[in-house]
């Protein structure tokens, strides 16, 4: 199983019946492929829809229906469409249960940087700042390190997306819960030891006596 699939499968285990979920572009989108069978979850796309599903088949593209990355999608029966103010009202107003977003850095305070690398490119934050600030639960999906560079750091050097502490961090090596006390190591990926995780992490981790292996199915 590759790193992305592992992360997506583990995050899929976090989603609860009846919840409203917003998946970021890229790796987070994969989460919808690994939902436990029968789980009823609604997916929002911030450009104006609850009830996102993958494009059912080639040729079914609707020129008026895309995800937040501009890719064509489908809409489940019972979907609902709305304008951008309403969509971000859902996000900031406490109506969005979970957002899953990619990350560039997460630090010991549990703060996330994921929208820009100064000097490289100026992409803009899109909806990321609203999502991280407003969602009831923020789950970060990212590789543990980038080409040997730690991404879980003492203090983010990149511009923050929000000062809000994220709720869970899932990487290809570990599950980490940011808390008031700091970053708690909760689970390790199959075949990965605690020492390997510590070596790949710049931030200080709180390590319990027993670190369970990631659960990847119900």
């Amino acid at each position: 199983m590759d790193a992305k699939e592992l992360i997506a499968r583990r995050i899929a285990m976090e989603l609860r019946e009846g919840s409203l979920v917003n998946l970021g572009i890229g790796l987070p989108t994969l989460v919808s492929h690994y939902l436990p069978p029968g789980l009823d979850v609604s997916f929002q796309t911030e450009n104006g829809l609850i009830g996102v599903e993958p494009l059912p088949e080639e040729g079914a593209e609707d020129e008026y229906l895309s995800d937040a990355g501009g890719r064509f999608i489908g809409a489940v029966p019972g979907a609902a469409s709305f304008d951008s103010c309403f969509s971000f009202g859902l996000i900031r107003g406490g109506h969005l249960d979970v957002t899953v977003l990619g990350g560039l850095q997460v630090d010991e305070r549990g703060q996330l940087a994921n929208w820009t690398i100064p000097g490289r490119m100026i992409p803009g934050m899109g909806g990321a700042m609203d999502l991280v600030t407003g969602a009831r639960r923020v789950i970060v999906a990212m590789t543990h390190a980038a080409k040997g560079e730690p991404k879980i750091v003492r203090r983010c050097s990149l511009p923050l997306t929000s000062v809000r502490r994220v709720d869970l961090l899932v990487t290809d090596m570990a599950v980490i819960a940011p808390t008031e006390r700091g970053l708690e190591l909760r689970e390790r990926a199959p075949g990965i030891g605690v020492e390997q995780i510590l070596a790949a992490t710049e931030a200080r981790l709180i390590v319990p006596d027993d670190v369970a292996e990631m659960k990847l199915s119900a």
Binding site: D83, S84, C85, I122
Partner: protein
């Protein structure tokens, strides 16, 4: 009241240097015919407020290609490398604004409100130079309204009283912008007899729309 307008005449209303609210998200729900004609007529120095600049050759990307925009307020420009190049070259100034804040700033202007108090952006680079306001122990960021000379919007259907509806995610910023442009020009995929869009399904009432044209399939997207 007769509000139908020819494409050339609609775009001729818009002078160099005008400020434009432009609907659409990555080009989906953008007024493609108006954008193409603005580029063709060589408009310059525009101030554009929009979610994004789509991609080269598409949607607002056509205005970027034509170097028609001098100032841009947007939430995301990462999908258009030409936008990036023009910013780096100093030909285009950009204000990046979180998407939800952008939507509410436009709504505030169109709804007669003096600003938006949001938690989004507090403690980040977007809070620089902005006021914060404390209410009952909680801190909020004050973001100011954004109006414009024109709103260029795209609808799904319009009737001859200019009542508009929208399709799926092509709605996005369009109905919000229809409230905040001093002159509103709407482009609709279909124009239908009055009554076809029932009152309960009208999203933008026709009184808000000043000029209407049909999106011509041949000249559209």
């Amino acid at each position: 009241m007769h509000k139908m307008i020819a494409l050339e005449d609609a775009v001729a209303l818009i002078p160099d240097g005008a400020s434009l609210l432009i609907g659409g998200f990555m080009g989906i729900g953008s007024p493609h015919r108006l954008l193409g004609e603005l580029a063709r007529q060589g408009r310059r120095n525009l101030s554009v407020i929009a979610n994004d600049t789509a991609r080269p050759g598409f949607g607002i990307g056509k205005l970027i290609d034509a170097r028609a925009i001098a100032n841009l307020t947007a939430s995301h420009i990462g999908t258009n490398p030409t936008t990036q190049q023009q910013i780096i070259a100093g030909d285009l100034t950009v204000e990046l604004c979180p998407q939800g804040t952008l939507a509410e700033r436009i709504r505030a202007a169109g709804s007669g409100l003096g600003g938006v108090l949001t938690p989004t952006g507090l403690g980040t680079t977007v809070a620089q130079g902005k006021r914060t306001i404390e209410i009952d122990g909680r801190t909020w960021l004050l973001d100011l309204p954004i109006a414009a000379d024109f709103a260029l919007i795209a609808a799904h259907r319009a009737d001859y009283r200019c009542n508009l509806d929208y399709a799926m995610t092509a709605r996005n910023f369009n109905p919000i912008m229809a409230m905040a442009g001093r002159t509103v020009i709407a482009e609709a995929a279909e124009i239908v007899p009055v009554g076809v869009i029932p009152p309960d399904e009208v999203i933008t009432p026709g009184t808000l729309v000043d000029h209407l044209l049909r999106r011509d399939a041949a000249n559209g997207r």
